[in-house]
Every structure is written in C-alpha cells, then in structure tokens.
Symmetry: C2
C-alpha cells in the first residue's frame, strides 16, 4: 500500500485540523444557527441548542471566536446584551455544515425506515 505521497499526508492533516477546530458536540449547531439567523444573543443560542449549559456554551463561543469564525459584540442596553455573528471567514464552513446536514437527514430517514 503506497502511502508515501505528500498529498495524502497533507490531506489527512487538513482533515484532522478541521475536525479539531469544529469537532465536539455543539460547534456545528452553533454555526448553523448563526448562519441561518445571522445574529443571535447568548440567550437565543442557549434556547436553540437544547440541553447546553451556559458554561459549555460560553466555552464553545470563545473557541469559535479564537478561531476567527464568529464575532462577539456587547450592546449598551439595560441590561447588557451580547450579540454573536458569523465572520466572513465562517462562510468557508458552510459547505461542511450543508454536507453534514444532508448526510444526517439521510441517515435519520434510513434509521426511521429500519424501525418502522
């Protein structure tokens, strides 16, 4: 098995990087919501990501911000609100989300058929 070519190795590294960046239980869902509604507040995201606790949501958002995928803006309202938005760079992730969504839907149908 000839695996001694750089392209394969590069590709493997690219996939690993992407997964490291976007992996975990929540990030894709957060990005999906932000792409769909464009701007959301902390509370909105918490309600939409059913089951997530504030601590976990906070951490996911910080990591996404660190990776330049979202921006965080504090609004001078009373009480203070914070809005999150996807960056221009985050558009690069849309194809991944779409593909994941498409596969997930097919898979759910397949499972549904199996047990009906």
């Amino acid at each position: 098995m000839n695996m001694n070519n750089d392209i394969s190795k590069e590709n493997i590294l690219a996939i690993k990087d992407a997964i490291e960046l976007l992996g975990g239980k929540w990030k894709f869902c957060i990005l999906y919501n932000l792409q769909k509604y464009h701007t959301m507040r902390f509370k909105d995201l918490q309600e939409m990501s059913v089951g997530i606790t504030p601590k976990v949501l906070s951490k996911q958002l910080q990591e996404l911000e660190d990776n330049l995928l979202i921006t965080r803006t504090v609004n001078a309202t009373k009480p203070v609100t914070v809005s999150y938005e996807p960056t221009k760079y985050a558009e690069e992730v849309i194809p991944v989300i779409d593909a994941l969504l498409s596969f997930g839907s097919k898979h759910r149908k397949k499972i549904k058929e199996k047990y009906s």
Copy 2:
C-alpha cells in the same frame, strides 16, 4: 427570535446525529483513506493514521461497521489478513469529507500565512 419551526429543529437534530456518528479524532481520516484506496488492511490503516494505537483503531472500525459504513472481511491467508472496505452507503459521507478537507486546507494556509 423565532425558532419555533420544525425545520430548524429537524436540521439541528440531523447535524447532531451526523456528528455523533462521524465525530471523534479518527473516523473521517479512516473513511478518507478507505475511499481513496478502496480496500485496506488493519496494518495499512494503522500506518496511515499516524499515532493511532491498535486498540483505538479497532474500536473506530467496529463503530464504523456497526453504522454500516464499512465492511470487514477475513482472508484465509497465512497469517490471516483482514480487509476493510467502504460500503455503498458510505458514499453519502464523501461530500462531508470533501468539504472538511477543503476547509482544513484553507485553514492551514491561513495559519501558515499568519505566522510567516
């Protein structure tokens, strides 16, 4: 924020399902290699997934098999060899792998530029 529509909820569930199925550190790399070479032995996969231990590889393969994404075939050679192949159904995952690979490559370039 109007999130009370079933489509959004369904989509979120689909994404969560897909990630649950394919998430983790190795599965996408394994599937990438299997799509590329079509058939691989345990040892090949271990060498290509640099750093993976046999125990972990074994578990990933079992989970992929349970989810109907790969097949496992024992060959009556001496010593015994085992070959893994992607199923027809696994073709549904290719778009996800491609998108992930594409994003990962762009991201690696972006990081490389940043620190050069």
